[in-house]
Point group: none
Chain length 192, copies 4
């Protein structure tokens, strides 16, 4: 547990999340991040050797958090439909409360600021889902298609839906959008 997550470190990451999504990577001066985080410019470079290291740390933190949310939701009991529904809803719920993190992932996962290696490491948090899907296929609950393809389609659909839901003001409407989206996504995936 090398990561002690000082308050200052956390503040820097939080400020960076907001600023990077709102202004892009190069559009965000490190001095501004430091300012918003309430620390001196030099301090930022004490915690992160370079600006690149900062965005990659942020990326990994978010991916890890998202992975944990999914893993926890995956422990729910019930049949496959229920299980997948739970996982999707848990992710959507978290995404709605952390829209900026979804936004961040969407914007930076294919950007040149995240190295291939970091991207790999980030994705690794979701790999257990591949196994789960394979299991669902074997049990005849999920259509027999390559699990990677299923995962990428489901997750891109979810991300887009969360962002769409976040654009609604009314929480009831938000949930309606999410429920309908998840219905559609799972129709595509589940064997009827």
């Amino acid at each position: 547990m090398k990561e002690q997550m000082t308050d200052k470190r956390k503040a820097i990451l939080a400020a960076a999340l907001t600023l990077f999504t709102e202004r892009g990577f190069h559009g965000t001066p490190t001095s501004l991040i430091a300012q918003d985080a309430g620390v001196a410019t030099g301090t930022l470079f004490h915690y992160f050797k370079t600006k690149e290291e900062l965005i990659e740390s942020l990326y990994l933190d978010i991916k890890k958090e998202a992975g944990t949310v999914l893993r926890d939701a995956g422990k729910s009991k019930g049949d496959w439909r229920e299980k997948l529904d739970n996982i999707c809803m848990a992710y959507a719920e978290w995404g709605l409360e952390n829209a900026r993190k979804i936004h961040f992932m969407q914007q930076f996962c294919y950007s040149p600021f995240i190295s291939k290696a970091t991207h790999q490491e980030g994705v690794s948090n979701f790999l257990f889902l591949i196994d789960q899907i394979a299991l669902g296929i074997k049990e005849g609950a999920i259509r027999d298609y390559p699990p990677e393809i299923i995962l990428s389609i489901v997750s891109s659909g979810l991300m887009t839906s969360i962002l769409a839901a976040a654009r609604e003001k009314d929480p009831q409407k938000q949930h309606k959008v999410l429920n309908q989206s998840i219905d559609l996504i799972l129709y595509g995936v589940l064997q009827e």
Copy 2:
């Protein structure tokens, strides 16, 4: 006929497409765009008043081209499944040959470099699909969900699949990925 699309203008847009996707907006100097396009730096600013205007023009051009591809494919005859399949395959085919354009849209559609107004204008090229989907619902071929939701889930799924397919080297594998992805996407959408 305001748009005469000079050769130089085209060259600048082409160079910008490649560089923006590879290095990001702020990561790409205008001088480099000009160099790659084979024109002087001043010339770039003769055609586009600012760097922002350049990226927005590029965005609109691509969205327009994508809209045209879809519109043409939508004229095909046949039942709904065939029709949707044709549309998706045409889009995927185009996307595969223009992976950079897909990449560009994915990376910049939610970025702060494209103004809301431009985003709106870009999306307008796809609005006719909403009507089509509504028609399909009325005819009982497409599940009865809000057409906007259906459109956003289908298109995000398609984009992701195209990018995944583009990562494959072998054209045969590419098409297999695409076919399987489109199958899955349409399962979700079509009423069986």
Copy 3:
């Protein structure tokens, strides 16, 4: 008479006068001068080889015009006080109607954009005044001080007064300011 003073040439000089006083030399693009003059950018360089040549031509034209005004006024009859008063008032009158030209001279006579040679040539239009002053001294009407000093003090006082008068809106007030200023200036110069 090499100078045929085409309409276009005149238009360029007029536009340049306004723009140079309002925005400075380097602050005024030649393209803007051309635009305001209603000609193409290339045309400006047909009449003036460089931007420097333009400002120097403008400077000389103005100095020449000012010299002519003074020379004409100097032909008036009457005693020395009357004569000097006439000269000053004529100059002030012209300056009031051509405040921009006064402003221009004030701003650029010591600026680095006017070469020493051009400055010399411009000043030559006023040299006859030195002789006049010398004559006035010899006749005992003007105090016995070096004519160059007298000239420079009188003319700087006049310029400043014209600019001050031009700042007033009411023509009556303008003239009051001018008359009072000229009174004061001549008190200093005339032998009582």
Copy 4:
């Protein structure tokens, strides 16, 4: 004590003074100012947010210094002629040693680079002279003309004379020119 006047700040102002008078505002690259001041370009912008702020600061500094010189000289004892003579000579003396500052004021006081507000603030350093002149008028020593007019004529005459004197090499000649000029200026102002 907001103004700590760091060494670096002082060096930048000194370099700017020389360069602006010699090459004009737009004719002077900030990089050259920094170089001449012996600091990095970034440092210049650490002390002055923009090039405009730099020239305005410089203008205010000089006006303040000039005002102080006059104020100190105004404390001298003696009759009005002596007093005005002292003030003028003190100013001329300072101007001779600081010809560049005089040159700067002459060149930029009516230029578009100094905002109206800054001009006002600069002029405020001389306002006490208006009161002095009014007093002189009341006591019958100075001719009864609007004090503002008297001030502007005297000061423009002085400035011009200082510049003329500065053009002489020989210090003796310089002082002769100044003395004669001040004589002439005061003849115009003083009631005999």
